[in-house]
């Protein structure tokens, strides 16, 4: 059970003795050191690329591209954490993304308009397609989860079978051809200037985020008091609140410094009669892109599921010690099944982003996603031994990997070079983590 406590900071963990070394000060803020370290590594990667590219890398436009490219992998990685934590694996995610992306494309170009008679201007057609895709993902996930949890076929085998057979189904769906031409509203899920929140909404979101951080801090403190748990020192609470708010507002400001491309702004201005063009052209803040908003929502919901709901506690308990969890009366099979259903839903969301970005689907959408997703989870601190892993960590892991791929192609390193670096980083990240953990369990005061 120490593993569980290790993964998610549980209120009431033994307070370290009050010394004033930097390490202890950080410990008093209860910041997850591993996560913090990775955040620093991520920032270092960005700074390195910025230096190499002569200061051109770290711009709002580029960071938005990076975030959109990372979003799909990151969304699935949040689910992969729970799968790996419960000592399973899911190799079928790439194929699942492929089959659902193709389903979206066929729904909107063929099935909805021609067979069900819903024309292109039918309201909420994009939502209908999305709902069907999510249902399909959940169904396939449930089938795989059922075979794994109730029949007892190893997850590696089941999802390897899924990887092969589901990719084959993609071929049959489209007879091998790429399908293009999605609903205009659906395309907004993929980001781009028009598929972003825009200036005012981005600011509104930042304010809401800030209030939420403060509210969470206050209610958390109250709860701890109520149950007699030790609380963070006041300076730590204020520090976290202020820094958290500054980051949220900073990100919003940064994103709002990414403006619509001139050509697009001129075209839309002409279409919608915005009046005469102002001096220096239209400057319309694009704000945060939709895929990032989707990822934000998924991360919050998944973290809540993992740390605040019985489902999450059971999954971590099972991963930490399967026998103990079962003896404690947890219906472990049902919880395992649920993790795969969740994976199916997340794959459907990632497939929506991927197909919206392509404005269609090709046979190879999502190919080798499973590798990137597992790598993201593992770089983010998820352990194959089970019971350990956090969702924000996996998201950060996805951003680390995506920043390497994007940064290397930005400075002109070709794909073989990108693969070399990604592989080395994967091993380094897990290597450091393993060393850290070993030192932690042998010599620490915990």
């Amino acid at each position: 059970m120490t593993n569980v406590a290790d993964a998610t900071p549980v209120p009431g963990q033994a307070q370290p003795p009050a010394r004033t070394s930097l390490r202890d000060l950080i410990a008093q803020t209860e910041i997850d050191l591993r996560l913090f370290g990775m955040l620093i590594a991520f920032v270092l990667i960005l700074i390195t690329f910025n230096v190499i590219s002569g200061g051109k890398f770290f711009s709002p436009n580029n960071m938005v591209t990076l975030a959109v490219q990372a979003a799909g992998i990151a969304i699935i990685a949040t689910g992969m954490v729970l799968v790996i934590v419960s000592r399973n694996i899911d190799l079928s995610v790439g194929s699942l993304v492929g089959v659902i992306a193709m389903t979206y494309a066929l729904l909107m170009t063929n099935i909805l308009p021609d067979i069900l008679g819903l024309p292109a201007d039918f309201p909420f057609r994009w939502a209908i397609a999305l709902a069907i895709g999510i249902a399909l993902g959940a169904a396939i996930g449930a089938l795989q989860g059922f075979i794994i949890a109730y029949i007892g076929v190893p997850s590696f085998i089941v999802t390897l079978g899924g990887l092969l057979s589901i990719r084959g189904i993609v071929w049959y769906l489209s007879s091998g051809a790429a399908v293009s031409g999605l609903d205009a509203n659906f395309q907004l899920l993929g980001g781009g200037a028009q598929g972003s929140l825009g200036g005012p909404l981005t600011w509104a979101l930042a304010v809401v985020g800030c209030i939420a951080i403060i509210a969470l801090l206050i209610s958390g403190r109250r709860q701890r008091r109520r149950f007699g748990f030790p609380v963070r020192p006041m300076w730590a609470e204020v520090l976290i609140g202020v820094v958290g708010c500054l980051i949220v507002v900073g990100v919003a400001n940064f994103a709002n410094n990414n403006f619509w491309p001139e050509g697009l702004a001129d075209r839309v201005a002409a279409q919608q009669n915005w009046g005469p063009k102002p001096e220096g052209g239209w400057r319309i803040p694009a704000g945060l892109p939709n895929p990032l908003i989707l990822l934000l929502g998924v991360t919050i919901v998944m973290t809540w599921l993992a740390t605040r709901r019985r489902f999450g506690r059971y999954v971590y308990a099972y991963g930490g010690n399967p026998d103990a969890a079962e003896l404690a009366g947890i219906n472990t099979r049902r919880e395992i099944l649920k993790t795969y259903v969740l994976m199916g839903v997340l794959c459907a969301l990632a497939a929506a982003i991927a197909s919206a970005r392509l404005n269609g689907a090709t046979l190879d959408v999502g190919q080798s996603y499973e590798l990137y997703v597992i790598a993201a989870a593992v770089v983010g601190g998820t352990s194959f031994a089970g019971g350990i892993g956090t969702i924000p960590g996996a998201v950060l892991g996805a951003f680390v990997l995506a920043s390497l791929a994007y940064g290397l192609s930005f400075i002109g390193v070709n794909s073989p070079g990108q693969n070399v670096v990604a592989g080395i980083v994967l091993i380094l990240a897990v290597g450091f983590d393993t060393l850290n953990r070993r030192r932690g369990t042998v010599g620490s005061s915990r």
Binding site: G161, I411, N414
Partner: protein, 407 residues
């Protein structure tokens, strides 16, 4: 008990599904390959009184008839050409299996084939079958895909010429400016060698050396190795991610992208998606394969040129060559009938030319010319039965410059 049986059932269902995807579904394809043979057999008995070609049975061994192209374009043209010449057509499908293909070849020889048109699943694994055919006195045509054997006849499209056609079209449109080069998988010789060689044949390197053209995405200084960005496994989403980074870099550097050479359609589709999501506008963009989604992009004005390999004509050439082989004409005195294939597609010479394979064999060959498709000659793909006009024009109106054909 019944519960357990249910589980076993569902499990076997899943296994069957898995088998289906890897095997390609042998059961479903059997009728499709049997049908043409039966009809041919029926007409065969009647042709006993016909002239010299009576006993000319032409057999085709497909490696994967599931791919729509074969049934739609190649097979009907081979069959028609052979039957119009008084021959008999039979075929078999190997469903992506090397072993099945060897069995198929033996069966086809057993059915009295005089000429074997072979689409090898694997250029080396199929060699025992080629040997069996040679032993039985059956001539072998390597169709579309090379087989490493000195005695075969090779009929295909010119892959270097595809690259040349891509660069010809783009260079003519944009003789000077900033180029982006998008290549395919770094492990594929088509991506790293043949297509770039075609680009250089069209004058790309000369224009770069003359400083008329600047390649924005040079990974180093070596030409052509470092010129352009490779795309792992020709993946569309990888090409898209790479192109987004290239656009961001160009914008940050204050460079304008004037043209994009993409090696094939799957990468070109990713590039087009990147241009769309970045609202960059659509500089002239190349591709090859004649994929439906890319031809739609050409019709919409999103992709400038798509190099199309007209498989109808390839089938006609194979059928005509097989008929000649039946008569015992040796390759040196063979000649394609005038007017059989479209002039723009026909091999440079009507007589077979020598082709040196990567394995060092010199074989006789017909190498057909690919057709560059732009908005001006879009009608060719419609007239050739490659794509219907409705399908082609489906999303033309949403593009920046819809083709005249679609209005």
């Amino acid at each position: 008990m019944s519960n357990r049986r249910m589980l076993a059932l569902s499990l076997s269902g899943v296994l069957a599904l898995a088998a289906c995807s890897s095997g390609g579904g042998a059961a479903t394809s059997a009728p499709s390959s049997a049908a043409p043979s039966e009809s041919a057999a029926a007409s065969g008995s009647a042709s006993a009184s016909a002239g010299g070609a009576t006993d000319c049975t032409v057999a085709v061994s497909w490696n994967n008839y599931q791919q729509p192209r074969w049934a739609k374009n190649d097979q009907p043209n081979i069959k028609k050409t052979v039957e119009d010449g008084g021959g008999k057509y039979i075929d078999a499908d190997a469903n992506l299996s090397n072993e099945q293909q060897l069995t198929d070849i033996n069966n086809l020889i057993g059915q009295g084939a005089k000429v074997l048109i072979l689409l090898g699943q694997d250029t080396k694994a199929v060699l025992p079958g080629v040997q069996a055919a040679k032993d039985a006195g059956v001539k072998v045509i390597a169709y579309d895909r090379l087989v490493e054997d000195p005695d075969i006849f090779y009929i295909t499209f010119d892959n270097v010429a595809v690259g040349k056609a891509e660069a010809d079209a783009i260079l003519k449109k944009v003789p000077e400016g900033n180029y982006v080069l998008i290549k395919g998988d770094p492990g594929d010789p088509n991506a790293s060698t043949f297509l770039p060689q075609g680009w250089d044949d069209a004058g790309l390197k000369a224009a770069v050396d003359a400083k008329k053209i600047t390649v924005l995405n040079m990974g180093g200084s070596e030409w052509p190795k470092d010129a352009g960005t490779y795309t792992d496994a020709w993946k569309t989403d990888k090409a898209q991610a790479n192109m987004e980074a290239i656009i961001d870099k160009a914008v940050a550097d204050g460079n304008k992208i004037d043209a994009i050479l993409a090696e094939n359609d799957s990468t070109a589709f990713g590039v087009a998606a990147a241009l769309t999501s970045k609202n960059y506008g659509y500089p002239p963009l190349s591709g090859q394969d004649g994929d439906e989604a890319n031809l739609q992009n050409v019709a919409a004005g999103i992709q400038y040129v798509d190099i199309w390999k007209n498989a109808n004509e390839l089938g006609k050439v194979a059928g005509a060559t097989a008929l000649e082989m039946c008569k015992g004409t040796d390759a040196a005195s063979m000649s394609l009938p005038a007017g059989l294939v479209e002039a723009s597609v026909a091999p440079t010479s009507p007589t077979p030319q020598d082709f040196t394979t990567p394995g060092g064999n010199t074989v006789k060959s017909y190498i057909l010319q690919p057709t560059p498709i732009t908005q001006e000659n879009l009608n060719l793909v419609v007239d050739g039965g490659w794509i219907t006009k409705d399908k082609l024009c489906e999303k033309a109106s949403t593009g920046p410059t819809p083709a005249a054909l679609c209005s």
